[in-house]
């Protein structure tokens, strides 16, 4: 058919210069840092301007990508391919006609080379990356508009915008990467910026601790990224050099290698596990999710950006980008119960449960994000690639909107407090626009028809069931009910009921009184961060035009926020309503824009068609595909199971061809399943509303104080309030239990072995005698006089000579140990 035809796909200026999208904010960052303070708006205009420019280019690139996809179709039609209705066809693997693989548009330069190995830097744009580029640029732009008002008067205003701009830039650079090295670059830029931004108000210790925790927890995962990249490189390099004339860092080469059937199973399994550990850390999956809620210590715009489109999405994106590695590594094709799906399922449930016991509005949202990321991972883990990616898209809008609403509430409604129980309540009358946006986003998040989350989340759940994971299907549904529950609780506490604390215009600076109130009201309720977050930004807003610094009660009353805050919220709320229609599967296939433009086509490409653009640069293809002659009659039958044993990712590709994406299965929408999930969500809502009214409004005696009366309830509550004791595990058990014994052992060796060898037994005996004399004899007598503190200090001094601290001995130990190690290696080698 079109095997040898050269079809010229359309491209365009925006697609070919998409690298500007990431570069412009990076340059903007440098400008802000260097000149920001001298500019009239203290650098914020640069941040807005650069992100605006990125947004324009990303939009252009998106439109041109769609044109490119469409052009493939017309080319095919011109080539005489028999086609049915333009788009209403299932994939070839599902029995439909083959659609050509649309190759990414690459423009890369050699960044550096080292003895023949070249590393590219630039952009490789396909459907997934252009979608995320646009999303990141758009969300970042809106969040920066929001920040103009929100952080006005902050003492590090310029630095805030600089870090925000670099943060977006890091994500953009990662998304458009065409090789793993660039992915790591963007990934690490984001890690650094998240540290800077979470610790933005580092004067308070809790904030800097949270920043450190975020940094180190993610770092644990980052080791996985480095290891995984190394494994992939050594695994894929030979294949890439032989067949694609590139190297093992190239993302396309990695994808092709993973699907080639030549990869050894163990290599790919180890790579997949290592990379997924990185994604666990970055995307806050169980058990490394603990940093995400603590990251709420940063300013609200940071949380908003971090949780919607950057940072946490990076992990999900990485899985989606090099999906073939996970597809093969975890045997998703054959319905294996993958590591990803299990982690995703666990994360959904545990974080949704945690969201119930939070008093801090931002922490509720943080756990909600963790839970939603669990959905995305679950989707990817069971082969539902498209719904998971679609969920990234819709989730970004409503989660960003929710965070901005929370920021708006704290900015204008509760006087910089985020504590729902103390300082909020009844705000719907004062902040109608914020309330409206919150409700819309909540409905979207919980998946109520026809808001965005309904189309994406239900798609994931539906596909999980369709791919044969019945248990995880129910986990997903249960998670949806839990989502409805905790969001109802948050909504009720913030916007309904009687105004409390700052929301009631109460004098705000009496933290002591508040703390006492808190202790009385919430007996076991002890949110560690509540007090901290209450203080956020206090000093920073002293010169705010709202007059928050004054203590007149009139100024303290809740009111609606300014236009700069409301504008992004309204835009996002609008998108939270309508963005679901971009891939509304149940409405018919003509609505499936994501399937058409974002999902790569699982078709094999002949090696001949791959133009070698030189090692280190990305793979470029010009020929659509070797379109296998597939008759047009197989489509539309059943749930699309026809192609299970053939197609990309279901077996080795034909000789001299490469696959870049596995043939994933798409579930047929079923009315009954939609009704089921809507019913589950409705049940969640009903239960939660009933509970809220009974507990918070009527103070139903059967519920109030349940945690005090019932042992089971109290244990459950404490378990949740302590976040499953994971932090205890990490800090008390792992750090104390592993790191300290090693240090102790080293100390012991230092003390006994080294000093013993040098000083000899006699010297040691003499010291021991001295020690006994000093401590037992002298100190027991003098102890009563001098006090115990002095005893401790003096015994420390007495111990001092026994410690080594001699550099030379360390040197001797170092060389000696190296020699011994080398001897062992030599012996092993010889024998």
């Amino acid at each position: 058919m079109v095997a040898a035809e050269v079809a010229q796909l359309s491209s365009g200026w925006f697609l070919e210069n998409a690298w500007l999208i990431g570069l412009i904010p990076a340059v903007g960052f440098a400008v802000i840092i260097l000149f920001g303070k001298k500019l009239p708006m203290q650098g914020s205009e640069i941040g807005l301007g650069t992100l605006g420019a990125s947004l324009v280019i990303a939009t252009g690139a998106g439109i041109q990508w769609m044109q490119r996809t469409n052009s493939a179709e017309t080319e095919e039609a011109a080539a005489g391919v028999l086609r049915g209705v333009a788009r209403a066809l299932p994939r070839a693997s599902e029995g439909g006609a083959a659609e050509p693989f649309i190759e990414p548009v690459s423009s890369t330069w050699v960044w550096w080379q080292n003895s023949g190995l070249e590393f590219g830097l630039g952009s490789s744009i396909d459907g997934l990356s252009v979608m995320l580029l646009w999303l990141v640029a758009f969300i970042s732009f809106l969040v920066q508009i929001f920040s103009l008002d929100y952080v006005r008067g902050d003492r590090r205003y310029t630095h805030f915008f600089a870090a925000m701009t670099l943060f977006s830039s890091g994500m953009l650079i990662m998304v458009m990467a065409d090789n793993m090295v660039q992915v790591i670059l963007g990934w690490e830029i984001m890690g650094l910026c998240s540290f800077l931004l979470i610790g933005h108000w580092w004067e308070e210790e809790a904030n800097s601790v949270a920043a450190l925790k975020a940094f180190f927890t993610v770092r644990v995962g980052d080791v996985g990224l480095l290891v995984g990249t190394a494994i992939l490189f050594f695994g894929a390099n030979q294949y890439a050099v032989d067949n694609l004339d590139t190297n093992g860092f190239d993302l396309d080469a990695i994808q092709a290698w993973a699907l080639s059937g030549q990869a050894s199973t163990w290599t790919i399994v180890m790579a997949a596990i290592a990379l997924f550990i990185a994604c666990i850390g970055k995307s806050g999956q169980f058990p490394l999710h603990t940093w995400l809620p603590d990251a709420m210590a940063g300013p609200t715009p940071v949380s908003s950006l971090l949780h919607s489109s950057t940072m946490v999405v990076a992990g999900v994106f990485l899985v989606a980008q090099i999906y073939p590695v996970f597809w093969e590594g975890f045997n998703i094709a054959n319905g294996g119960l993958s590591f990803i799906a299990v982690i995703g399922g666990i994360t959904i449930v545990i974080s949704a449960l945690l969201a119930f016991v939070q008093d801090d509005i931002k922490k509720v949202l943080a756990y909600s994000t963790v839970s939603q990321l669990g959905y995305m991972m679950l989707g990817l883990g069971v082969g539902a690639w498209l719904p998971a990616v679609f969920h990234i898209f819709t989730h970004a809008f409503f989660k960003c909107c929710l965070f901005l609403c929370a920021g708006s509430v704290s900015h204008s409604g509760s006087h910089h407090s985020f504590d729902m129980k103390k300082d909020m309540g009844g705000l719907r009358k004062f902040m109608p626009i914020t309330f409206g946006a919150w409700v819309v986003s909540t409905l979207a998040l919980t998946g109520v028809f026809p808001f965005a989350g309904f189309w994406s989340k239900d798609e994931i759940i539906d596909n999980v069931g369709n791919n044969g994971y019945t248990f995880l299907f129910w986990v997903g549904l249960g998670g949806a009910a839990l989502t409805a529950g905790y969001m109802t609780r948050a909504t009720y506490l913030v916007f309904f009921g009687e105004p409390r604390g700052a929301a009631a215009g109460e004098h705000h600076d009496d933290h002591v009184v508040h703390a006492d109130d808190h202790a009385l009201v919430g007996a076991a309720t002890h949110s560690l961060s509540a007090a901290t977050n209450t203080d956020d930004g206090h000093g920073d807003h002293a010169d705010d035009d709202h007059g928050h610094g004054d203590h007149g009660h009139d100024d303290h009353g809740p009111h609606e926020s300014g236009k700069l805050i409301l504008f992004p919220i309204v835009v996002l709320a609008f998108l939270a309503t309508v963005s679901g229609f971009t891939n509304a599967t149940p409405l018919g296939e003509s609505w499936e824009q994501f399937k058409k433009y974002v999902e790569p086509r699982p078709e094999a490409v002949a090696f001949d068609a791959i133009i070698a653009s030189g090692p280190g640069e990305s793979v470029q293809l010009v020929v659509p595909a070797v379109a296998p002659a597939v008759e047009d009659d197989g489509h539309g039958e059943g749930a699309g199971d026809d192609g299970h044993s053939t197609g990309c990712g279901r077996g080795e590709p034909e000789a001299a061809t490469a696959c870049f994406f596995p043939a994933v299965v798409h579930a047929e929408p079923k009315f009954a399943k939609i009704l089921l999930s809507l019913a589950v969500v409705a049940a969640g809502y009903a239960a939660a509303i009933a509970f809220c009214i009974a507990f918070y409004k009527r103070r139903d005696p059967r519920l109030v104080g349940l945690t005090q009366r019932s042992r089971v309830a109290r244990a459950g509550y404490k378990f949740l309030a302590n976040k499953y004791y994971l932090d205890h595990l990490y800090e008390k058990i792992i750090v104390r239990g592993v790191a300290h014994p090693i240090a102790d052992a080293a100390y012991w060796i230092n003390q006994k072995v080294l000093d013993g060898a040098v000083n000899g037994v006699g010297e040691g005996g003499k010291r021991a005698g001295n020690w006994v004399y000093d401590n037992i004899d002298q100190k027991l007598v003098d102890g009563a006089v001098n006090g115990s503190g002095l005893v401790a200090s003096e015994s420390g001094h007495a111990m001092q000579p026994m410690q080594s601290g001699k550099v030379n001995q360390y040197g001797a130990l170092l060389f000696g140990a190296a020699a011994v190690g080398a001897i062992v290696l030599v012996i092993l080698n010889v024998s």
Partner: protein
């Protein structure tokens, strides 16, 4: 040990003899560096070792490295050492207590290392003969530095810059 194998097959005898003489001088000088009681003498013995290394480079046809060795080590580093000795007011005459209390520990460690390395070296390159080559043109060296090994070169530049700044910061009097 090095002087023992003077005239094997295919070996340039004159070169080998020269190597042996220089090597013995270097080893003797190196032993003096680590055993003399006089700090200034130690520095002067070190000059002998470094000069010997430069001579060996010339024997191995690495003339550019040899010249660099003379310029950098004997010209600059040794002057630094002498300044360091003077500024820390070491006595010009001999000095007691140049060694640690646990200095004996160094002997077994060094001997074990030497034994290990000798075994491995002899085992690996037993009869390998270095062919006689003409001196490598400096131009080729420059090509190597400025194309395939450019990244390490840039890294070195940063290190040198950082070292210069660091040394100034550390040594200046506040």
């Amino acid at each position: 040990m090095t002087g023992l194998i003077v005239a094997a097959d295919g070996v340039n005898v004159a070169q080998n003899v020269g190597f042996g003489i220089i090597a013995f001088g270097m080893i003797f000088a190196a032993l003096c560096v680590v055993s003399t009681k006089n700090v200034v003498h130690a520095a002067l013995w070190l000059v002998v070792v470094l000069g010997g290394v430069a001579a060996q480079y010339i024997l191995a046809a690495a003339e550019f490295v040899a010249v660099s060795q003379v310029l950098v080590y004997i010209g600059a580093v040794m002057v630094l050492f002498l300044f360091g000795i003077m500024l820390t007011r070491a006595r010009i005459g001999s000095e007691e207590g140049l060694n640690n209390t646990g200095w004996q520990l160094g002997i077994p460690v060094a001997l074990v290392l030497l034994g290990l390395m000798s075994y491995v070296i002899v085992d690996t390159v037993r009869d390998t003969i270095i062919p006689d080559r003409g001196p490598a043109p400096t131009e080729a060296l420059a090509d190597q530095i400025l194309s395939p090994y450019l990244v390490p070169f840039l890294a070195i530049s940063f290190v040198l810059l950082a070292a210069a700044i660091g040394a100034i910061v550390l040594a200046r009097k506040d």
